[in-house]
């Protein structure tokens, strides 16, 4: 089982979720209003009123096969709009 962590601007949440859904992930968790610091700037909620939003953190637990289906499309979105994605091993309790 793999754990996929995605952190990107909330504005791209719909696009990312679409990729996850079409790859057939068994489920995912979305945490909005994620703040912190990116490579260039601090990400805060201060522009929330404008619709610019902060970051979203999406966590997915799935098999390798699904990760491979997701890989290209997620990379394409993140490389263009910014954001990070990391895959790690996950063991069920």
């Amino acid at each position: 089982m793999k754990r996929l962590d995605l952190i990107f601007s909330e504005r791209e949440l719909d696009a990312i979720v679409k990729v996850l859904e079409s790859a057939g992930v068994p489920g995912y968790t979305v945490m909005k209003h994620a703040t912190g610091r990116g490579p260039e700037t601090i990400v805060s909620e201060d522009m929330e009123f404008s619709g610019l939003g902060a970051n979203a953190h999406v966590i997915v637990f799935c098999d390798d096969e699904i990760i491979n289906k997701i890989r290209v499309n997620v990379r394409s979105i993140l490389s263009y709009y910014g954001g990070v994605a990391y895959v790690s091993e996950a063991t069920e309790l």
Partner: protein
């Protein structure tokens, strides 16, 4: 005369609350407004000014100065981004130039309502149909900005990111703040025409609460503007000068157009403010989505960190002075 107007403008509650927000950041106060509230207040302000504008538009009808003023406002929101783009291209790439140009071609609803408050404090009459101009100036500037990217920046973009017309129209017309403002304008118009009791029922919400909500929103804007000031260092001196000088130039243009339209002093000021203000609601969200190559720190720091405070503190009374000098009957 202008110094007196500046003082009178500074000593109004919305502007004083704006300063309170700035000072909170400077003094590192722990004052913090939870993120959903400013969003709620910005939506409230858009709803209220749209609704009131629609009601006024129903009263005034589309005759007289209304149509020429609204058409001129749309023309200005098409022209200003082109002028800004030409200037910005001297130093910046296509993407940043187009995004900043779109922001300056579009309008700031909060600057507009601060100008309305200023006119009320001066007992200067203005017409509600100016809200129609406000509502219709947001989208054209976004379209021009995106077209500039499509025309001038296509060769620098991956093919997969070529913008489609549907994206351009969607982002410019269905952007949340544009949609709510236009929708509220229409609802205000229809309610005033067919349901006077509905108008009465809305009054406590869209009328009596408005001034307090404006003050609260400006408190938050003061905090955000002060937080955005360090971003100006990264933007550099060219953009700092641009953020102060271009509103003056645009206001100047606006006053001359208002003179040609034979607008009264109140409407002329609002027209100038619409031309001089820059968007930090609709445009950043649209540009972040469609032109991610542009640095958000540039178009947010300039519009929100500099142009917005400049306009609401000094700009509005300065433009009033300009109106009084250029439109003789206004003096």
């Amino acid at each position: 005369m202008e110094a007196n107007l500046v003082l009178q403008n500074v000593l109004t509650p919305p502007v004083l609350f704006f300063f309170l927000g700035i000072v909170a950041v400077v003094l590192r106060s722990d004052l913090e407004i939870p993120a959903p509230l400013p969003k709620l207040f910005s939506l409230y302000l858009l709803l209220a000014i749209g609704f009131k504008g629609g009601m006024e538009l129903e009263k005034s009808g589309f005759g007289g100065q209304v149509l020429p003023t609204v058409c001129s406002a749309i023309a200005m929101s098409l022209l200003i981004p082109l002028i800004c783009f030409g200037i910005l291209r001297l130093k910046l790439d296509v993407f940043n130039s187009a995004a900043i140009a779109a922001a300056y071609g579009s309008i700031s609803a909060v600057t507009f309502i601060t100008a309305e408050s200023f006119l009320e404090s001066q007992n200067i009459h203005f017409d509600g149909f100016m809200v129609a101009a406000l509502a219709l100036m947001e989208s054209p500037a976004i379209i021009v900005g995106l077209l500039l990217v499509k025309i001038a920046g296509t060769k620098n973009r991956p093919d997969s990111r070529e913008m489609k017309w549907s994206t351009i129209i969607r982002e410019s017309l269905l952007n949340g703040s544009v949609y709510l403002l236009l929708g509220s304008l229409l609802i205000g118009f229809l309610t005033a025409a067919h349901n006077p009791i509905g108008v009465e029922k809305m009054q406590p919400f869209t009328g009596k609460l408005f001034y307090g909500a404006e003050c609260f929103f400006l408190l938050d804007m003061g905090i955000v503007a002060a937080q955005r000031l360090p971003g100006l260092k990264k933007a550099g001196s060219f953009l700092i000068f641009f953020a102060v000088l271009i509103p003056l130039f645009n206001a100047f243009l606006g006053v001359f157009v208002a003179k040609a339209l034979m607008l009264g002093p109140g409407n002329a000021l609002l027209f100038a403010v619409l031309c001089a203000s820059a968007s930090y609601l609709a445009v950043p969200a649209a540009m972040r989505m469609t032109v991610p190559e542009a640095k958000a720190s540039y178009y947010i720091s300039t519009t929100l960190g500099l142009t917005f405070p400049f306009n609401i503190v000094i700009g509005i009374p300065l433009y009033m002075g300009l109106v009084n000098n250029i439109i003789p009957s206004a003096g």
